[in-house]
């Protein structure tokens, strides 16, 4: 059985189980609507333009907040990694900051920037920033010294060395930070939109709650889930696969152990 087929069957199974629960009539309709009902709400939302608008707004916010802070995070991470003094001061602070859920920045953002678009970007960015910084620092510090020597030896210095050797060597680590940063960004955006009264998917979710419209709540949750999965499977998974192949990291543990001493 092929993978998409298996995944499709799993999905259908989940739907059937949901329908089964509904048919048991354990909960009233307005607490557990049927898949069909949710599907209709979804279709209505898409047709009326309400959902596409919310999706657009949310994606734009995530992309902007994530994109800008990811770039800043990579630059900052490289700077830290290359200066031991910064690393043992700011570096350890960054590790600590990563444990802070980024929605904790919410009150601060409101007080500093008011109920503005910038506040949302700030919260989203705080979700991204620290994981990207930390993974970049780890990646750059773990570049094998041999690669640096080889690069220097062939005449690469300064920014050329950074661009042609350090960054590619650190890329697998940076990518895993980006992936984590994206998922933090997406989660903090939803949290922020739930709290702000302002367009976006999280906002639709909170409207659904206020109207006691379970069908809308579930429809929006589905959309949020689907977008999350789509980015993971459509963007990060293929990128990671590509890097693993390219960097030769794809061997299983046992085959690596066999070839480790590099003797033939």
């Amino acid at each position: 059985m092929s993978r998409p087929l298996r995944q499709g069957l799993l999905f259908l199974g989940a739907l059937a189980f949901w329908e089964f629960l509904v048919r048991l009539h354990l909960w009233p309709d307005y607490l557990l609507p049927s898949p069909l009902q949710v599907g209709r709400t979804l279709a209505d939302g898409l047709a009326s333009g309400e959902l596409p608008l919310a999706i657009g707004v949310s994606l734009r916010r995530t992309l902007l907040g994530f994109g800008l802070t990811a770039l800043a995070g990579i630059a900052f991470g490289i700077t830290i990694a290359r200066h031991p003094r910064l690393d043992d001061t700011i570096g350890s602070l960054m590790l600590g900051m990563q444990t802070l859920p980024s929605i904790c920045w919410f009150p601060l953002a409101i007080l500093w920037f008011g109920l503005s678009e910038f506040s949302i970007l700030f919260i989203v960015g705080m979700g991204t920033f620290f994981s990207v910084v930390n993974s970049t620092v780890a990646g750059v510090k773990n570049v094998p010294p041999l690669y640096l020597r080889a690069g220097l030896n062939m005449g690469a210095h300064g920014y050329v060395l950074l661009w042609e050797v350090v960054l590619p060597a650190a890329l697998p680590s940076i990518l895993s930070g980006l992936k984590q940063g994206w998922s933090f960004a997406w989660r903090s955006l939803m949290a922020a939109e739930l709290l702000f009264v302002n367009l976006g998917l999280g906002h639709l979710l909170s409207v659904g709650r206020e109207l006691n419209d379970m069908s809308q709540v579930l429809a929006v949750v589905l959309v949020i889930l689907i977008i999350g999965i789509a980015v993971e499977m459509g963007v990060f998974a293929p990128l990671e696969r590509h890097l693993r192949v390219r960097w030769g990291l794809q061997k299983s543990l046992s085959s690596v152990a066999e070839t480790a001493p590099a003797r033939s």
Partner: protein, 267 residues
């Protein structure tokens, strides 16, 4: 033939001593090395493990600054690493994110050579090491011997004045090593590069070198020098060569014993 103002030596090392600071302790690596390498000469260095062979190579490559003495390359003191002195590392250091071609072109790209010209040079040197069919292979798709040859091609593509090779063939099986000995001699015949070649293997040294230098155990000093005047291409099993290798081994044996004793004492 000494022309005034022109140094006939590619590399001139005078009174070179170097030590590392290891956890507060001074570890002497090499002491009072005096060595001259002529243009187009292959000099092999043998010595017991830990006697400072790699250190000497790293000093010439410019990765380390010497504590004492000086290294002149064509009359200019070495200050930093540079593409005129290319190292073929024991662990190669090929970049896995690039193809074989990408690796061979790397130094030229850094230098700003145009893509078209880079391709041409890469093709020429990949042909020289008989790997032109593997231009677009990724590094981890190549065998150990092929990687070794890509590393060699990468270094040659930079057209360095000096090739510094640190035990490049140690990790290979005997057949591959013999093959690369022939290939290296063939390449030398075509390019007449100055080569400093470090090895543990006395016969390998006698096969490749015009001169073989024996170093003492820790700290490394030059103990004795052998000239190898045999016709090329030489093969590691040539009878005349085995004779010379035996006398080099004689010289080396005592040093290896000293090095072993010292290592055991440290434990």
């Amino acid at each position: 033939m000494n022309y005034p103002g022109i140094d006939p030596c590619r590399v001139r090392i005078r009174g070179l001593s170097h030590a590392y600071t290891n956890a507060g302790r001074q570890v002497e690596a090499v002491r009072d090395i005096n060595l001259e390498i002529l243009d187009g000469e292959i000099v092999c260095i043998v010595g017991p493990s830990g006697c400072g062979k790699s250190s000497l190579l790293n000093l010439i490559a410019g990765f380390e600054r010497p504590r004492q003495g000086e290294i002149l390359v064509h009359g200019h003191p070495v200050r930093s690493p540079g593409p005129d002195r290319v190292v073929v590392f024991q662990d190669l250091g090929l970049f896995p994110w690039l193809t074989a071609r990408g690796n061979v072109e790397f130094g030229l790209k850094v230098r700003g050579v145009l893509k078209k010209d880079r391709r041409e040079v890469a093709e020429r040197f990949m042909q020289m090491v008989h790997l032109d069919k593997f231009m677009d292979s990724l590094v981890h798709e190549l065998s150990g011997g092929m990687k070794q040859r890509v590393a060699l091609a990468r270094s040659l593509a930079l057209n360095p004045d000096i090739l510094l090779m640190d035990e490049p063939f140690t990790a290979l099986d005997a057949q591959m090593r013999d093959y690369l000995h022939l290939e290296l001699q063939e390449i030398w015949d075509k390019t007449r590069k100055t080569i400093l070649f470090v090895t543990h293997n006395v016969r390998e040294a006698a096969t490749l070198g015009h001169r073989v230098i024996v170093m003492t155990a820790h700290p490394g000093r030059i103990k004795k020098e052998f000239k190898v005047d045999l016709p090329r291409p030489r093969h590691i099993e040539d009878p005349g060569l085995i004779e010379i290798a035996r006398s080099i081994m004689e010289e080396l044996r005592g040093e290896v014993a000293t090095a072993m004793k010292e290592e055991l004492k440290n434990e």
